[in-house]
């Protein structure tokens, strides 16, 4: 069992598509607005239109269909539960009835609506992470937090911590893997015994892991301070993303689409 095999940090795939080329700030802001907007739309057909638009975006970003489907995994239970409950508990025109349960036309429509809403929510965030690198995302987050700096919120420190954290995930994963193998070769057993025995068998993994984490922190702090790093100072960046024409076009398109869908849903 290798840990690194089933942990896939980074759903990001570096491609050169119109969606990938957008400024990360624009992408993050638009997806947040869209996520809220989904809850404003109250009718099935306008929601379906929004879904088609989202799929167009997914196609533009060249997101594989399987990738989108895999993204639904966290909400699978929720989808099934809602469908079952809505299907049988909504009253209206009966279509089918068996074992004392009745499926109504309204029930089918309502459950379709709820499922579509959930799928849209997931699709948008899947497209966002597929087309935006984690570092770009932290940069976008940092720029949104910058105004909070005035009231003493450490925005750039938090962005730096996020970047360091992302950088260290693979390193520490490898370390964990190594420790597990080292302890196994010394006779540690992780897969037999009762619950408590199994949990306790992880203590010889976690203690070296924490120790090595502290050691790495010390080493990195020395390395950064010897390169004149001072917390709280203004930082410069190697690549500064700039808003281009495509970003304004994307914002305009999104606003037009949302306005259209909104008008349709209140008609």
């Amino acid at each position: 069992m290798s840990l690194a095999n089933f942990v896939t940090i980074g759903q990001f795939v570096p491609l050169d598509t119109p969606i990938h080329r957008l400024d990360p700030r624009v992408k993050l802001l638009l997806s947040l607005v869209l996520l809220v907007f989904i809850f404003v739309v109250g009718k099935l057909l306008p929601l379906l239109a929004l879904f088609v638009l989202a799929m167009v975006c997914a196609a533009l970003a060249k997101v594989p269909l399987m990738h989108l489907v895999r993204g639904m995994r966290p909400i699978l239970i929720l989808i099934v539960l809602t469908v079952v409950i809505q299907l049988f508990s909504t009253s209206g025109e009966p279509l089918l009835s068996f074992w004392g349960l009745t499926i109504t036309k309204e029930g089918i429509l309502v459950s379709l609506f709820v499922v579509l809403r959930l799928i849209l929510l997931v699709s948008i965030s899947v497209i966002l992470t597929y087309a935006t690198s984690p570092l770009d995302l932290t940069f976008a987050l940092e720029s949104f937090m910058l105004p909070l700096k005035r009231i003493g919120f450490p925005a750039s420190e938090i962005a730096l911590m996020m970047s360091i954290a992302l950088r260290f995930i693979p390193t520490l994963l490898e370390e964990t893997d190594k420790i597990i193998k080292a302890q196994t070769s010394r006779g540690a057993d992780f897969s037999s015994g009762g619950v408590i025995a199994r949990a306790k068998s992880f203590i010889p993994v976690l203690i070296p892991l924490f120790v090595s984490a502290f050691r790495r922190a010390d080493e990195l702090a020395d390395a950064m301070e010897s390169r004149c790093f001072i917390t709280g100072e203004k930082r410069s960046r190697l690549h500064v993303p700039k808003l281009g024409l495509n970003d304004f076009v994307a914002v305009a398109l999104c606003v037009v689409a949302m306005a259209g869908v909104y008008v349709w849903s209140i008609l």
Binding site: L28, G71, R73, I85, M162, F202, V205, A217, T231
Partner: protein, 177 residues
Amino acid sequence: MKTRDLILVAIFVSLSVISAFLRIPLPGLPLTFQLATAIASGIFLGKALGPASQGIYLALGLIGLPVFTKGGGIMYVLQPSFGYLLALPLSSFLTGWLWDNQGWKKIISVAAGVVVAFAIGIAYTYICTYFFLGNQKAIANILSVTLLLLFAKDIILGYIIYIIGSVLSPYYGKNRQ
């Protein structure tokens, strides 16, 4: 803030990510170490930086990076089990606030972290199912009872982190002697 503190917070964020994937292969319910790492962050980083590391972890997951057990993204707040994640900063704070290298205080602080995680987790599950499924009290009750069984799981995590904290805290973190 010192450079070392900043990096330690960052490293505890990555440890949290890893602990979400480090699972004990149990039949039925997988046991992940997220809560253990959160409590450890309270022990080693203290009541301010510990919760900060957990907050950053949540923020990373919510903007869509796949750092939670089943990926990531804003839709995670719709998961009935999101309360357990939401409780991580609070567990970290409580443990960090109460932790002391004296015997019984260690037990109390870890217990406080575990209980808070469980209380928030179960409350969230209850509200979430109630909200989504409408007035389906029976289902919400069944779900809550099942989750009550998971409390045993949290106690095991608390026990493990109590041992680790007792071993390491004299040498590392805020309570270095």
